[in-house]
Each structure stands twice: as structure tokens, then as C-alpha cells.
Symmetry: D3
């Protein structure tokens, strides 16, 4: 068995104990670790609601319900992967650029030890720090982004780094390879028709929510594989990709999206890629009175771990 992993849930109830992700140990070890789950409690640089700084806490809490075996992918993540909860990166509340530097430093330290990072947001701004860290280690990544928004705007209110501009920054900085990247789930009102053209303008293949649903998981899987190939890959799951009925607790909800079931099926369809990092972002607990958003996020993370476990099999 791997060195680090969850305890036996049949011996002590899952609701007991300090809340770490899937109840794995909260240690900052780099030896014999396959995956580090890292909280990134940043919010602020968002165009609507804050609150995502409590996302890591909420996802950890919901993740206590996760068991170890994924029946749809047929893999036991705890048998295949040594998993630790690293705790949270430092942040400087109200100071986005300073925060990104500190986040990047933590992730880069972990990634350099050969560990795959799974970051719990925090708002989507954190993606820029993640990609800076991972690209420094692995080179430019293929980005697979499930999201209602492409986050390719140029600037907001005179600033260049926001939750809605980070993917453009990543392209500009050479952190991702647009030709190998895919965005899917885009929808909602836009500032203008030029918005819809932005992904293509940068060389990224984008799928609207309607296109994604029409294509189905099979089609999506094929498309992504063709684009990504054997490149090192990063999967970013913004919970606003699903309809707000399934994820009300998020910063900029967009009605009319897929269900949780559909979204998780798209994640599972990505088995086989060479993932170097994952995140699950934009969980804003104060807007999640019934907790369904955090529960979805925890399950999305579980699917990511399952993808990695399959690859390591």
C-alpha cells in the first residue's frame, strides 16, 4: 500500500476527525508522495462574488464522504497513489500579484519533487500561479479547461491579472500550448461577439456548453486526445461549468449549463492523458447553503485522482 492515504471508514465514521482532503495525512512530505492536495485560499480579483478563500475548507469537509474505490473507472485511488494534504499556500489577502508569487513558490517546490499537484481554489486567478510553477518544471502544458468562461479577457478596471484574464496571460507567458489546449462549457452573455472569437484567435479550441453537450463524452474524449496527445497536461475544473442548480456556491454563476452527472462524465472521459497538475476552483461556500457545490468539487477531485491512478496502473 502507498505510504500516505485515507484511514478505514468502516472503523471510524467518516465525519470524525480533523478535516483533511479525503482524511489523508496533513503533512508536507515529498518522499513517497504521488499527489499533494494543496489549498489556495485566494479570492478578491473576481468580477462578482468573493468567498472562494473558504473553498479549500469546504472541499476538504465534503471530501470526507469519499470512499476509495471508483466503480466507473474501476480503480482504487488509495491503493495506487500516495496522497497527502499539504495544507494551504500562503496568500496576501487583497494583494493579488503578491499572492500569486507565494502560491507559485509553494507549487513549484512540490512539483519539483515530482509530485502531481491538485489545487483546491480559491478563485480562478490561482491558475496563473499554478501554470507558472508547473511550466517552470515541465515546460508548456496542454490545458484542458472545463469552465463557463474562457478567462481570456485582456484586463479589467486597468489591471491585467484577474480571474477572467489568466488564461490569456498564460498564453502570453508561454505557459500553455494553445494548439494543445481545449476549453469546454463556455456559455452565458458576453461583452460582444469578439469575446466568442477570443479562444480561436489565440489558437485554443473552444466548445460552448451546447457544443459540448451535443458532442457527448465520447466526442469530447476524442477531440481532447487529438489535441493533447502525449503532452504534459493540466486539467482545470471551474465549478461554474455546471448549472447553478448544481453549483450555486460560485463567484460568477451562469445558468443553463450541464448537470453534475454530465460534467463528471466529461472529466472521466479524459483517462489516459499525462496529467501533471489539476485544480478545482471557484467554490464559494457562503453562497452554497446546502453544500452541493463543495460536494461536487470533492467528487471532481476524486475523479482527477482516479484519472491519475489509472495512468499509474
Amino acid at each position: 500500500m502507498p505510504r500516505y492515504g485515507p484511514p478505514d471508514a468502516l472503523e471510524t465514521p467518516r465525519y470524525a476527525g480533523v478535516r483533511t482532503f479525503m482524511r489523508v495525512p496533513n503533512v508536507r512530505a515529498t518522499e513517497e508522495v504521488d499527489v499533494a492536495v494543496i489549498g489556495v485560499p485566494l479570492d478578491g480579483a473576481v468580477s462578482y462574488r468573493t468567498g472562494a478563500r473558504f473553498g479549500p475548507e469546504a472541499i476538504r469537509s465534503a471530501s470526507s464522504m469519499l470512499r476509495k474505490y471508483n466503480p466507473l473507472l474501476g480503480v482504487n485511488v488509495a491503493e495506487r497513489l500516495s496522497i497527502v494534504d499539504w495544507g494551504d499556500t500562503p496568500v496576501v489577502p487583497g494583494y493579488t500579484l503578491e499572492s500569486l508569487d507565494r502560491i507559485r513558490a509553494t507549487i513549484e517546490e512540490v512539483a519539483r519533487a515530482g509530485i502531481v499537484t491538485l489545487c483546491l481554489g480559491g478563485d480562478h486567478t490561482i491558475l496563473l500561479a499554478e501554470l507558472r510553477a508547473l511550466a517552470a518544471v515541465h515546460g508548456p502544458l496542454a490545458l484542458v479547461q472545463l469552465d463557463a468562461h474562457h478567462d481570456l479577457w485582456d484586463e479589467y478596471f486597468g489591471q491585467k491579472v484577474f480571474h477572467g484574464s489568466v488564461v490569456r496571460r498564460a498564453v502570453e507567458e508561454g505557459l500553455i500550448d494553445p494548439a494543445r489546449s481545449v476549453q469546454a462549457g463556455l456559455r452565458g452573455s458576453l461583452y460582444g461577439p469578439e469575446d466568442a472569437a477570443m479562444p480561436a484567435g489565440l489558437g485554443i479550441h473552444a466548445l460552448s456548453s451546447e457544443e459540448l453537450l451535443a458532442m457527448g463524452p465520447g466526442g469530447f474524449s476524442m477531440l481532447v486526445r487529438q489535441r493533447v496527445g502525449a503532452a504534459p497536461c493540466f486539467l482545470s475544473f471551474d465549478v461554474d461549468v455546471v448549472d447553478p442548480a448544481f453549483a450555486p456556491g460560485t463567484g460568477t454563476p451562469e445558468v443553463g449549463g450541464p448537470s453534475s452527472r454530465e460534467a463528471l462524465t466529461f472529466v472521466r472521459s479524459l483517462a489516459g492523458l499525462d496529467f501533471r497538475g489539476f485544480d478545482c476552483v471557484e467554490v464559494s461556500p457562503p453562497y452554497d447553503p446546502s453544500g452541493v457545490t463543495a460536494l461536487l468539487a470533492a467528487n471532481a477531485c476524486f475523479e482527477m485522482l482516479s484519472l491519475l491512478a489509472l495512468r499509474r496502473a
Copy 2:
């Protein structure tokens, strides 16, 4: 550019400022105005939950997230339409008939100026005031109603005007042309089999929720066009048409309905009709802890504006 419309959301965050619909000016102008968004804060004459008097506030708040361009219909509502937020009509809380008189007077005043009205309910009782006002200006209207209930009951508790009887009253008063009207989304338990026969008995074409979903947006679009033709038309969107998971904040929720995505697709399928008025009703904020209902309502209104903008193109 039209005279009235929303400010630039890239210059100041959408969450800043006084909440008007889509952040358009709150003015009672009739010159150079295409659409007036009008709140109708009436509740009370409802068979279950009240609270819809705060519907206009909640929809206005949620609408601040709307951007100007509708990518699915390919139209920028702010470029094509001059939009004002008229504020709310007067009402007399606890006095339904007196309230309807005051609501009707406001709407008629606006409609006589050649302005299309988009009313934010309030409970569905307001439809009777809207139709009285608009029929006085435009003659009998074709009614397209997306709703879980046909609102054709004759009376409740000895009174003739309730949120469940207003469409029958509208037929009796000659405000709508049943032969050109369609109701869709009906479902839930009934008082008896005679209820299901009421629309047909009055000459209205009715589709149950199951029939609507089986027919799809294409079939629905064709059916409505055949019925409505070139007649002046009114679209009434009762948020209880969707499943309560998507719109819990409503007065008489009925489980088992379509999703928000499906419902909005049915709205979009109505492009081309000659709309003279719209409403979005039965948003009850105290039962909407996560705000998804108001967000759906704001988006439904955005689709209505888009339909009008397309027609005006």
C-alpha cells in the same frame, strides 16, 4: 447607440452601484425608449407561498451579472434597444383588485407611448393587469405562457381573481385570443381530470411538461408560430415552469420539470414573433437561499430582450 442602456462592465465592476435591471438608467422616460423594465411588487393572492413582492428587487440584483451580447442568438441587446428601468408600479398590499387597477394604469401609460413592457413579478396575478393594459392598446393578444400551471381555474375561496385564475379571466374579457395562444410546461397533481381539459375547453393549445420536452424546441417553435402567426404577442414566463431544483424560490413549486437550460432554449425558440409585452413572474426571494431562481429569471428576461432585439434588427 441607443439612448438608454447599461454602462461598460469592464470599467467598473458589475457589482458596483444601485441595482437597476442590467444597470440601465432608472428613469420614467418615454422618448427614445424601446423597452421599459417595470417591477410589479405584488404578492398575496396566491394559493401557497407569498414573497414575490421582493421579486423585482432580486431580479434586478441578479441582472447586474448580465452582459450585453447574446451569443446563442447572435445579438447585442444594448446596441439594438434603448432600455430603461421604469421602477415599480404602485400596489396596495393586501388588496388585489385595487392593486391590479394601479398596475394596469402604469403599464397602459407606457404601452401607449409605443414602448414594449417587460414586467418583473410579483405573482402571476399581475398578468391580468398587463393584459388589460396591452389589449387596450394593441387589441387581443396571442399569449405564449411557459408555466407549470394553466391558471385557468374559475375561483378560489369565493374570489375570481387569483394567481390561478387570471388566464381564464383574460379569455373572458377578450384580452387574449385563445386560438392563437399556447401554454406549455403544465404538470403536477390536479384537483381532477377536468383541470387537464380546461385549456382545450377554452380553445387554448396546452402542452404538458412531458409533451413539451418530447417535442423539443424545434417542435415547440413550429407549433407556436403556427398558432401565433403575425398577431401581437405576449410572452409570460412563470419561473415555476422549471424544476424546483432550478427555481426553488417560487410560490407553488412543482417537481419534475425541465431544467433551466431546457427552459431557456424554449424561450429562444420563439424568435420572430411580434412581441408587445413580456413578463417573468413568481420569483419569491425568501425561498431562494442560493439565488438561483432570481438568476434564472434575470436570464429569461435577457432572452426576451434578445428576441425583441432580433426582431428590431
Copy 3:
């Protein structure tokens, strides 16, 4: 008309009066009674959230919105069935085994009078008491279980009777006939691959959530009829069978399930079986801020009554 049933909702609003199920009389009569709705306010022996002891209250409250006629099944439950609200069984909070004895005694008393029982949970542990009571009267039953979990685990924390082990106990005690039983809607992470094999190992036909949705109501109906045949049958509806967006108020939610509409369609597909008992369990009101879970549960109960009314026609 039957002796006991709901009052006329057009004469007094449905929100008025003491909350009994569908507003039927709260009496402990056995004469001229077809169905007794019985609350079972037990929680505690659950692997995650408690709160289901307030499930009966919440379902009764939501059920006041139910009208008498089911348009999809074409049956008026109040015309065909004499229905009473029996009140709640005794329970001993914190003492699971003692509670089950008291619950069983009440249900057996009612069942011996030839009355069909519809129990409002309470957590799923109550199923064992129900089956003990009904099997004592009717012999082994065919169990049709709509649920995200098979509840076939052997023990938790050293104890044999929990909400996750009751179906295994029922098989061991000969209360159900596995060869005539079906479980559907199973999903979520598991302790290991052996979990997925448990139903088959005991002779129960199990369908995962994905299989159930792929099969559709027609296929499900056929499969169940083949299994159950003319045997006396029990239908157990665990609200966690649907996605948490539709039923957040439950003890162990599992994301990625069917919608309420889909779930109710599966219930309706069971028309014709010889039901001797029903339950609707795991409604946990403190986790149901918008009330959608209780509303779904009330409607699921209404469909159950409709199935019985059809059979009695």
C-alpha cells in the same frame, strides 16, 4: 367517496391548518382504511449526517401542496383510497435496536388490519423494522429499492444494524426474496470492488445509476415486472437516489444522479405490482434550506399512492 381523505383545497387554502400528510385526518383508525401514512422519526445510525428525525414533519408540510388527481397516471387517489395519517411510531433516540422494535410493533399492528403502510423516514435503518413487520404478515416480500446505495454492508464500527446494512439483514432474516428484488440508482465511490458485487452475491438484481438511466423507465418497468411478478411487493424510495441538486437534504448525498423528473418516472413505471408497503426515507430537513427535498419526497409518496389507487381500481 372513501371514508378518510383530504379536504377541498378550493374552499380553504392548502397552507391552512395542522400539517398532516395531504391534510388527511390524523386518526389511528383501522376500519375502512386503505392506506396509513406513518411517520418514523428515527435518525442516528447513519454514516454521515443526522436530521432525518424531522423528515416526517417536513414531508407532511410539503405534502399540503398535493392535489388529489394524478394526471400522468390518470387516477384520483382520494376517490380510490381511504387514507389516514397515523402519526408517528414511538422511537428511542440514540438506541437503534430498541427503536426498531417499537417501529416494527406499530407497523405490524397496522398491517395486520389489512392496511397498506406508507412510512415517512427517518433514515433507511427503518426499513428493517418495516420489513420485519410486513414479512410477519405477508411473508417474504419482493423489494424494489430506488437508492444510491445498496445498504448491503455487513457492519459498521462493530454493529450490525445501520442505515447501510439493513438490506443485508433483511436477506439474512428471510424478510425479502432476493430473487424477486431489484435495486436501482446505485452510484458513488465505494470501499472497494467487492462492494459492487454484493447485490449479485446475495441474488439481488442491481442497476447502477448509469445503467438505470440508459435502460429508461420502459426497460426498468419490464425488468422489475419480470423479477417481482405477482409477489407481494415493497417499494423503498431513498431520496438520495436523485442528484443532490434535487435532494440536498439527505444524510449521505451522492452527486451525479438522476433528476427528480427521471426518478418519479421510474416510480410511475411500477404500476401494476402488488404493493403491501412503501417508504420514503432519508429526508433530512436541516440540510434542505430551500425545501426541495421534502417536496420531492411528498411527490414520490403521491406517486406511490397513485400506484396503489390504480391497482385498486
Copy 4:
């Protein structure tokens, strides 16, 4: 022991069973009944929030926590009083005057049988119906009103009967004797200085919240006794008399009021008066997420029953 009363809470948990007030029988008996608790599910004619139509349900639910003995007054209400839960009066939602007629008729019927009525609101408009009924039976009453508002305004929006005008109407109709009446707890912003003078202008003794607290329960008790004397008396408890921290679930909350403890002490100070009726109004459950308002209301009702039980001793 009295004929009607609550069951033994040590034998079955208080949370079990259909929710009647204090779990007493829900019967419409007039023989051997001392007090009838009557729900009045009216809202609508209010200047701010609706929702009080669900007040009776919430107070009944919270009242299940009440035990029978009042240690501060030293009286067992169940030993001294035969108590029934009458259910709710009819109402016509959206039609205030028609509703008041129906409410009055029910209360008068009960009062003519010599039964003291304890009405669960509903908004304060119901007071007018109560006083019409009781004055018809008992003649003009002394009114003791604990409330943040004097409800003496003349009209709102062109109508004479609202939750803010009912006490003026009661004076005009001769239902209460102003010289024997006291209002206490008044506070909050007013339309103008003339508002503050209204009680005195009509001959009612009024105490602001600050005056009431400065006077204390002893002073209040003496003042009320001097005013009321041996006259038949009605106590009206509007939950907005306390600070919104203690009663957020109400229609027109006013910050800066007494605590629950202080308010209940003022109620208890009224022992000895000849009460013919009581009410507890303005509980609006949709604005009461933690349930404290309904709990306070249930306890205020318990103190009222205790006052009556003491008098009957």
C-alpha cells in the same frame, strides 16, 4: 386532569407526531375546553415583508418543545386548563376584508362557547377580526399590546385596514376602551412627530421601548393594573417588540428593542388580569432561518397560557 392536553413527553419524544400546538389534540370541540389555540394564516396587508401565513405552522412546530410546568409562575398549564388546537380559520389570500370576516366568524363562534382564544398570526391585521369577535361577546376590551409599532395610522395607499391601522379601527369601532389600554415597546423611525402623539390623542397610554425598559416589569405591571383593573382584557404580542436579533422572522423588524428575556418578563408581569383573548402575531418563517422567532413566539404563548392558568387556579 382536564379533558384535553399534551401527551407525556417522557414516553414519546417531543419531536414525534403531527405538529399541533404543544401537541394537544386538534379538535373543534367546545365542551370542556378552556382555551382554543387557533391559527390565522393571513398575511398580505403589510407594509413590508409577507410570510406570516406560515406563522401558525412554525409556532406549532416550535411549541412541541414546551413542557407543561412554568417554574417562574409556578403553574402547570396542562393541569389547570383544557387546551385544544382548533386548527386554522378560513382566509381568502389577497383579500383582506373578506379574510377578516371569516376569521371573525370563527373566533366569535369559539368565544361564544365561553372559550378563551389564543390566536397564532398571521400579521397584525388579524387583531381587528379578533377584537370584533370578542367585543361582540364580551363588550369593549382593555388592550395590552406589546409591539414596536402602535398600529394607529389612519390609512395606507388609500385603504383603511392594514397591519398598521387596526388599533385605530378598533378604537373607532368601540372594540377596545382606550382609557383601559396600554401599548408598550414602541420604537423606530416614524413618519413624523405626529405619529408619536397618536396613542395619547386617542386616549391610549403608550410606552416607548426605552420607557418600558426603564420602568421595568414591576413598574409596567403596576401601570397596566391601574389602567385595566377588572375589565375584560386582551393581550396582543407582536414579536417585533423584541430586537431583530431575537426575532428576525417578522414583517417589519425594528432594531434596538428588548431581549426575549426582557419581553417574556413583561408578559409574566401581567398575572391577575381577566384575559378573554390573546394573540401572538407577525411571525414570518421565511425570514427566520434559525427558528428563534418561532421559538420565542411559542414561549410567549406558553406564558399567556400560564397567566390564564394562574387566574383559573
Copy 5:
């Protein structure tokens, strides 16, 4: 009558219409204006919870319940003051320093027109921008701060400007005169004993919550008057000064504080000072499920306006 003010609440219900502060006009006029209410939707640079960017919206909404006359101070604010709702200042979400510049510019523009500003926070960081603006116009101010925290820490996480450091910055920049300033309501755990000594170390008179309550409004009034004298004065009301039972919707709640009634009495005790600006900060609506925090804030603002109206009398 003043040029700008609220409409008549007896003609149209207070819940109707677009939500501006007290329903006064939303205009950016400087002629014939006494007070401008300005929203400052900034959060982020806070040591715990965000969400205060929606504070202005929530306070405006709650303020619709305010009437014009303050009975305890005996003044009608609408008769004495011309009041406008200026809307919100620009902010740059996630960028604290840039935001402060934009906030300061707006406030300075208004203040230079001789208008008193009443700012609706936003977190307490905004105080620095307010003081920079007002000190530029009026010179150093006497600060009266009702707050659980002195906000005199030097830096957090390497940054100098945070909601907990702004008063120290104001002293350093000479924006306030410490010798004329008073902080009151301080409480809660601290980083160390040196924290408690910080106000005195800078020359500010500080009162703990316990000292303030022991002193009472009379003592507080005398102390403040002695300190402030005739100096131009700024009153900052942080809603966390009250106990979280009265103001749960705030960023860094501290249990054990005064009640709303007590806090408002302390505000009223300040009549006579020469106020040039006010604010009410740290209202965080996502943590305010029952709305009591926003209601308290609206009332605190009303008391501030009353203080100004009295001074202008």
C-alpha cells in the same frame, strides 16, 4: 423642503422601487445637497471573511424600511437635509491600493463641494481613503470609532494597508489628530499585551467594550466631547462593534459585545459634534442570512443623518 429626499411612504409601499439609500434619488448632483450617501464596494484586504463588497447593496435594501423622523432625537432628517444616493465609487477588485486611490478621488470630489459624505462599506480598509479625502479638504480630523478592533496593527503578511492597519496609517499620514480621537468597543482575543497598548502609544483614547458599557452613553458622550471639542470630526461605525448575535454578517466577528440598542445609544450620544464624514463598514451580506446586520447598519446610518440634521437645525 430640501431638494433631494425620500418619497412619501404612505403613498407607495416602502418595498417598491429601485433600492437607493432611504429611497432618495440616485444622482451625482452637488448643488443643494447636504449629504451624499456613497457605496464603497471593496472587500479583500481582510484577515477573515470577504463579502463586504455587497454591503452597500444590503444596506440600501434594508434602508427602505427607514421613515424620516427620529423620535429619540426629535428630528426629521428629510426636512433638514437634502440627501442623495451618489451610487458607488469605482474599485479594482483584488487591488487594494489602486482601489483606495479611486475611492479617495470620488470622496474628495464630493467633499470639496461642501457635502458631508456617508460611506457604506465595504471593509474597514476604505477608512483610509475616506480620511485621505476629507483631511485634504478639512485638515486633520477627530476620529470617533465604534469598533471591536482598533485597526492599529502595523502590517499583515508583508503589506501595510489592510482592514486592521488603516488607523495607524491615518495617524502616520496626519489624517487624524490622535489627541482628539476616541476608539470604543474594543474586545476579543489579541496577538499579545502590546496590542492593547497600541492606542495609548499613539495618543488615542481607547475604551474596551467592557469599559464602554460600564461608562454608559452619558459618560461616553462627555469623554468624546472633551476630546473632540469643536474639531471637524469623522464617525466610523464598524458593525462588528456589536455582538455577533446582532451582527453576524461581518468579516471578523467578536463575541461578547454590546447589543444593537446599546450601540445605537452610543451613536446618539454624539449629538453636537461637527461631523464632516461618516461611514458604516464591514457589513458582509453572505454571512447575514436573516438580514439583521444590514438592518442595524441602515439604522446606524439613520442615526448619523439625525446627528447631522440636529447640528444643522
Copy 6:
């Protein structure tokens, strides 16, 4: 400095990281440890609401806001005490007696190492396990109990061990010395006058809520010191001792209690006793929508640690 304690909150925000109590290390060490904070996630054997199994999680989360220095007692808990978060004891959900055995075993293990235990409930049933463990180590204890209920009932529903009977059991088993024990804060309706006499009947000094408030912290301190003297002492803080406005999130709230400020003052008045154990119980997060209950509980625990730190000084 002590070996175990919280990190520096000025370097990384308090909301960052895995939630342990006050962010101290989650270790099961017994060397160089003064206090172990131990979660006891038990609910079930309660007469009203469950949910307290999530109390430890909520208290830990709220405790992240605590700083190290207590200004009112003048002590830095982190400098004086080595504090660990032990995690949670095992429990068997739904099986009260089995759970108490496991809880007792954990606490006894810790106590035998000379460590003071501070248990986070869980419902009050856990007190019996705590006292069994501590009495085994230290002999009979003086119990100081702040609570709305004396928990001296004999049995409920045929069982002897419930949250309302544990103190009677503790007396019978000789775990506490009644002559040295004090209960304070008692209030609310009772089953009968014999209830009020129970403490005295067993030799315990009891103070009603009214008596406690009249006596004040000085009087309470003197009374407790006289009773307890130098005996080893246990302090049990049931959050329902305060009014539900301050602690709605609890199992059996009783209106009319003291404020948080008053309650904490009573805790602080106990400085000097020889505490061997503490608990804070009955925090039920699902009924605590604004989180004030957990925040009060965290602060009550901080005062307990401060009492111990003072004693160790």
C-alpha cells in the same frame, strides 16, 4: 515557548490551512502536552434536534479566529500551555452506550498522561464518558455546569442514558461530588415542580438563569469557590445556557437566557479553580446558519484555556 501551539497569524492568514483547534498541531502526543482538545462527534440520544456530531468541526473552524492573548484575564494561552488537537474519539453512531465506552477510553488514556482534556461536543451525553474517565484518574470531581437544563432526569423512553440524564448517572456512579458541584443557568418549561427540586434533592447547588443573572459574576464566583474549594474540578459549558439569539445552533434551545457576554463573564469568574477537564457541548451546526453558536463555543473554550493558563502561571 511550549512545544505545541498555534502558528503566527500575522504571517499567514488565519483562514488558511487545515482546521484544527486554534490551528495547533493535530497530533496524538502525550509528552510535553498540557492540554488536549478532543472532538467527540456524538449525537443521537437527545430529546430534540440532532446535528451535534458536526460540532467539533464547526468549533475548530470558528476557533481559527482566536488569537493567543486574553486581554481580560491578562494571559497568553500559547505562552503558558502546550496545546494539541487530538482529533476525535471513536463513536458508534446510533449506539449510545457503545459510543460512551469508546469515548471514555480515549479520554482516560489522555488524562492518565497528566493532560487536561477539553472536549468539543457532541451532545451532553458525552459528559458521562468524560466524568467516568476523569474520576477514574482523579477521583470524584466538583462539577461546575453552565446549562439551561440540569440533566438530572432519570430516564427517557425506557433508557437511562440520555443527554438529559447524565448528571444523575454521574452522581449515582460517584463520579462527581454533589456537595462541591454547582449548576447555573437553568430555565425553561419543566415537566413539573419536582423537576426544579431535583438538584437540591441530590445535594447539588442549582441556580436558575434569573438567579444567576441577579447574583452576577462576583456572587457566582464566590459561591462556586466556596463549594468547590481545592477539589479537582470539571467545567461543562452547554451552549444552550445562553439565549437562542446567541446560540441558535443547539439541540434544545430555551429562550430567555443570558447573552454571550454575560455567559463568558461567568466563565472568567472561575479563575483559580483546579480544573482537570472541560467541555463545550451541544453545538449543532445545521441549526447555526450564521455561525454565531460555533463562534461562541470557540470563545468559551478559549476562556477555559485561559483559566488553565492562569492557574499554571
